[in-house]
């Protein structure tokens, strides 16, 4: 038995689009994309709650980006993070599907359950990716690891559906197992034992390594490093001089070395934030205030749900031309009320905000999180507010999010995100 670990990385292929194609067989084989917002104001959950009737075909497209493209769409040039207008220009027949986060989160949780049933430790890396330490479960050798990987793949097919395929990579650390899983898609299975690590890494381009983004690649190219082999022969001292501590990571990556720690510890969040890109620009202070309150309530509600209050607040705006402004403030007393967050966010933004320029995005982030104290404030007004918030939180816990809303935000509606790390409905 080997002394080093065996790490498996699993990554769903075209995740959101594959789940949609699994659910609806008439989308299979078609170029489809799930967009952050899809078509005008379609929010699957909100439509259900209101009992509205929305015909997708007749709706205009709204400002959004492609979250996931199906493999058929990718083959025709549609890429993740592409603006929907650009995607439609490349492929006018592209079907843009409104996202359904509840569906995707169930598939994520099925994947995690399957991995936990076999692995020694499992760490979720994103909505559709996870690492698993399978050292003991595989018997410590790569034949056992391969058989285990095949079993996991069969379980995913049975539990998630044949259309929800995943690529698997197995190696002795996280960096290599991720590189392996991403080297063959869709439905790939790549095993890289340590003795093959140098040859395997040499066969991959620099930008395929997790942690080497386009900017790092450009900086490396300016130093004459254009491949893993040239990076490997580049002196460590020059790398650390150029990239500081990151130089060591680059040097190790070139030699196929990386962390083998897979941790299933759930850590406390460092910050809670919400931002929103609007379908059309905001052009008045009243609109800014209303939408900022909606965001502030979401941030506050999430903090209280997890038992936190915040000592730092950041508010920011992005204008039509993608320039922006923002500021951060520190408080003596931690806050957890949406209204209080709003008032402070407005104070932060008011010296610099230029509403006439057209605001495309607003964001609020609470950081410096501290555990919420159970005691009630001495001042009558604050005590009453805290009591009201507790009652509202109880209503949310019983009936779900979106059950109550401040009267001043009744005409405001945000679509649930279909991107990123967490799903809004789980927050």
């Amino acid at each position: 038995m080997r002394s080093e670990k065996i790490i498996l990385h699993i990554d769903f292929n075209s995740f959101f689009a594959s789940v949609e194609q699994q659910a609806n067989p008439f989308l299979r084989g078609k170029a489809i994309a799930v967009a952050g917002k899809g078509k005008e104001a379609i929010d699957v959950h909100s439509i259900e709650k209101k009992g509205a009737r929305v015909r997708v075909d007749n709706l205009p497209y709204m400002r959004s980006v492609i979250t996931t493209a199906s493999r058929e769409a990718k083959a025709q040039g549609i890429k993740t993070a592409m603006a929907t207008w650009e995607a439609r220009r490349i492929l006018p027949s592209l079907l843009i599907i409104p996202g359904d986060p509840r569906k995707y989160s169930e598939i994520t949780s099925r994947m995690m359950t399957i991995l936990r049933s076999y692995a020694d430790a499992v760490e979720q890396f994103s909505a559709d990716e996870a690492f698993a330490d399978i050292t003991c479960a595989s018997g410590g050798d790569y034949l056992g690891a391969t058989l285990l990987g095949e079993r996991i793949r069969a379980d995913i097919k049975r539990e998630c559906g044949a259309y929800c395929t995943a690529s698997i990579g197995i190696s002795n650390n996280r960096l290599l197992s991720k590189l392996a899983s991403e080297s063959f898609k869709p439905n790939g299975f790549t095993v890289v034992p340590p003795e093959d690590a140098l040859a395997f890494t040499a066969s991959r381009p620099l930008q395929d390594f997790c942690g080497i983004g386009p900017r790092i690649v450009k900086r490396l190219e300016s130093l004459g490093v254009t491949s893993i082999e040239t990076l490997r022969s580049f002196p460590l001292s020059r790398l650390t001089h150029e990239f500081k501590s990151y130089g060591q990571f680059l040097f190790d990556a070139a030699h196929g070395r990386g962390s083998d720690l897979v941790s299933d510890d759930v850590r406390d969040p460092k910050s809670v934030g919400h931002s929103y890109t609007f379908p059309s620009n905001l052009l008045s202070h009243a609109e800014v205030r209303k939408n900022l309150l909606f965001l502030a309530d979401r941030v506050a509600s999430r903090m209280r749900k997890h038992g936190f209050a915040s000592t730092h607040l950041t508010a920011y705006v992005r204008y039509e031309d993608f320039s922006g402004t923002g500021a951060t403030k520190k408080f003596k007393e931690p806050i957890c009320d949406g209204l209080e967050i709003l008032e402070n966010a407005l104070k932060l933004l008011s010296p610099t905000i230029e509403v006439d320029r057209g605001i495309r995005l607003l964001g609020v982030t609470a950081s410096g999180l501290t555990k919420l104290q159970g005691s009630f404030p001495l001042l009558h007004k604050e005590s009453q507010t805290r009591k009201a918030l507790r009652s509202l939180d109880k209503i949310t816990a019983r009936y779900g999010s979106g059950t109550w809303q401040r009267a001043s935000t009744l005409s405001t509606e945000f679509k649930e995100r279909v991107s990123g790390w967490h799903y809004d409905h789980e927050a």
């Binding site: 699994q22 659910a23 067989p25 439509i47 569906k103 169930e106 559906g161 949310t396 009936y399």
Partner: protein
């Protein structure tokens, strides 16, 4: 045609072990024979558990919503070729 809606429907189901599978859906004046259950997923609305059934026949995809508190079925999405 791709439509999101929230219409009450009658659903005949088949129980197989712990699994529930819709067999027939009556929507308006029409009855649809379900041929395949493609995906079942759950969600929580507060303490309430909701199940969604993504089903299809030869020409239609339907997403059905079952409220486990009221046992009410709703048709929430239709896609027809």
């Amino acid at each position: 045609m791709h439509e999101f809606l929230n219409d009450p429907v009658d659903v005949a189901v088949d129980f197989s072990g712990l699994k529930v599978r819709p067999q027939k859906v009556r929507w308006g004046n029409q009855t649809y024979d379900i041929q395949k259950t493609n995906l079942v997923h759950g969600a929580r609305e507060g303490t309430k558990r909701i199940f969604y059934f993504s089903v299809s026949d030869n020409a239609n995809f339907m997403k059905l919503r079952l409220d486990t508190e009221t046992l009410e079925w709703r048709l929430v999405e239709v896609y027809a070729v």
